[in-house]
Amino acid sequence: MSETPQLKVLITEDNIADCLIINKLVKDQGYQTFIAHNGFEAIDLFVKEKPDIILMDALMPKMDGFEAAKRIKLLVGDDFVPIIFLTSLNDDISLVSCLEAGGDDFLSKPYSSIVIAAKIQAFKRMVILHRTVQTQRDEITRRNEHLLQEQKIAKKVFDNVAHLGCLGASNIKHLLSPMSVFNGDVLLASRKPSGGMIVFLGDFTGHGLPAAIGAMPVAEIFYDLVAKGFGIEKIISEINQKLNTILPIGFFCCASIVDINYSWERIKLWNGGLLDVLLKKNNGNVHPFKSLYLPLGILPAEEFNAECIECDMKVGERVYLFSDGIVDLKDSEDKEFSLNGFAEYLLINNDPEEVFSHILEQEKLSFERHMSNIDDVTFVEIQMISEDVISNQHELVKNSDLRGARDWSMSFEMFNQTIRDFNPIPLMLHITMEVPELRVFNNDVCMVLSELITNGIDHGLLGLDSQLKNSADGFQQYYNLRNERLNNLSGESLNISLRHLPDAAGGMLVIRVVDTGEGFDFNAIDLDIPKASQMSGRGIPLLTRLCESIVYEGNGNTAEAVYRWKKMKDNNLL
């Protein structure tokens, strides 16, 4: 008794003599007592004194014990206040009425001090237990609310970091169904400064907060590096290295990454640990790309391989990426979704709309029926479209700081090892992005830079023939030759100089690339009449379209492009 506060017992008994006895019995047990002589008094005292246990006579004048018990139970709500009926009624029907009125037990006359003590003691334990449970429940509820509140705020931050990028593009359809506030899947997409697009689908071990925490640096690195013009291999390597550093052992991120090149109608693809990426060809074939690597975050940088598969993807062809949750889906006959099944379905179905709604339907069905034991499900369909269509879809560019570098020049010279191992484009873009308002034309600048630098290295220094790239086999041959010659490079250099000058309308960026190669006959190329066959050459028609002028000097190993840009009047585009 000493460790818990004194329990209050309300005694309701109309017979004064009986009341005396029971009051004495209860008091002798060390409880505080309150006496009521009928139901009305009992309710009043209940409200006023909040007793812990109630002893209630059944038959009383004015309001009997049944009615009083019912009303008190209504007042009690969530709390547990046991009502023990005092009764000399001992037929079954009367006892049932006691229970129906909310009674928890009986005490029959004549009262036995031992029985009373034992019953009150037992109920006291239950009352204490109930209170403990309630306190803990309230505590859990409070903490849960707190946690949800925190998660909501964290979710906002998360959504800002791991935003969906350019997933709204007309050629992308996607389905993201999070199992909790946070999703174990991460889906990112970003336009490359050079005009293409990279889509990243990651599936972290587990879901919820731990998975989301891993997704944040992935999104950061992804958007940062894509915007700076880094290639897909570099981006994959960086993400792997970051995850390898931050994720505990046993946690990793399965991922499919696709780099879409709209102008070449080609894709580069990396799949580590995820389901096959499917490519639906225009001829009806379905080509699977199996996972060739371990998921991201497992291997240290020196063992990691970010080599991608490259292949043609013509306008109208579609590529499908899935997270593992998709295999938990069940169709209307409760048959499990299988990738093979889906591949077969793709083979016979050429209507993209139908394919997507087919998956949506299965997802909806599965959620309705197996809500609790289903993983995060993410599904993306990307269609190859022509470059003109995609480049008309403006992206929002935030440009808050109008101060910056407007009149400057720089020169950067690369020698053998750097030419082989370093991609200078992100560095160059980083500098050009310091020019306020020029950021909007980032894509153009990146394309001009890429073309000139690629020309300088591939054709100027390595003497490769771009005609090779006209066939899939040729592509492979081209890159094999490229690697071979890069490794044998000696005594060569490539100089890139940039100069920017502002003018009233905007500014002028002069890009000059000089290689130490043998040069080429630039007079042979008709700059004014772009031909399809020249598209894969030095990209000169593209440069001509983007630049005010393009001039070759010397043996053709010096190229100078003048890119002139105008400030955008229409703020909606910014």
Binding site: I16, D18, L20, I21, S88, P110, Y111
Partner: protein, 114 residues
């Protein structure tokens, strides 16, 4: 002490438990029971049947509590008759109850040394 209408063990236990309060308890029991009996007669007279059942039930209960088995049995018999709604069979003067109550009262007062 041999008391035919009173359960000896029970009254003794009660006396022991209540200690100094026993005489006060006896007085309360007696006066409350007298009130109940006069209410019973009134309720019979006015045909207030529901109230009659509650009163007889209450008297029976407190008799059981002190071990007054004989009086409790008389009450039980009358309570049953009343619950069966045959009030005509109930003695309007409740002679059996009054007589037994008088004997019980004498015994109790003696026990409590009043």
């Amino acid at each position: 002490m041999s008391i035919e209408h009173l359960n000896e063990a029970q009254i003794n236990e009660l006396a022991l438990m209540l200690g100094d309060e026993f005489p006060e308890f006896v007085r309360t029991f007696v006066s409350h029971s007298e009130d109940l009996i006069s209410s019973l007669k009134k309720q019979l007279n006015t045909k207030d049947n529901d109230a009659f059942v509650i009163s007889i039930h209450s008297l029976k209960g407190s008799c059981r509590n002190i071990g007054a088995e004989l009086l409790a049995d008389h009450c039980l018999q009358i309570e049953r008759t009343a619950r069966n709604d045959i009030f005509a069979e109930i003695d309007p003067e409740l002679v059996s109850i009054c007589e037994e109550f008088n004997r019980l009262q004498a015994t109790l007062l003696k026990l409590a040394r009043i």
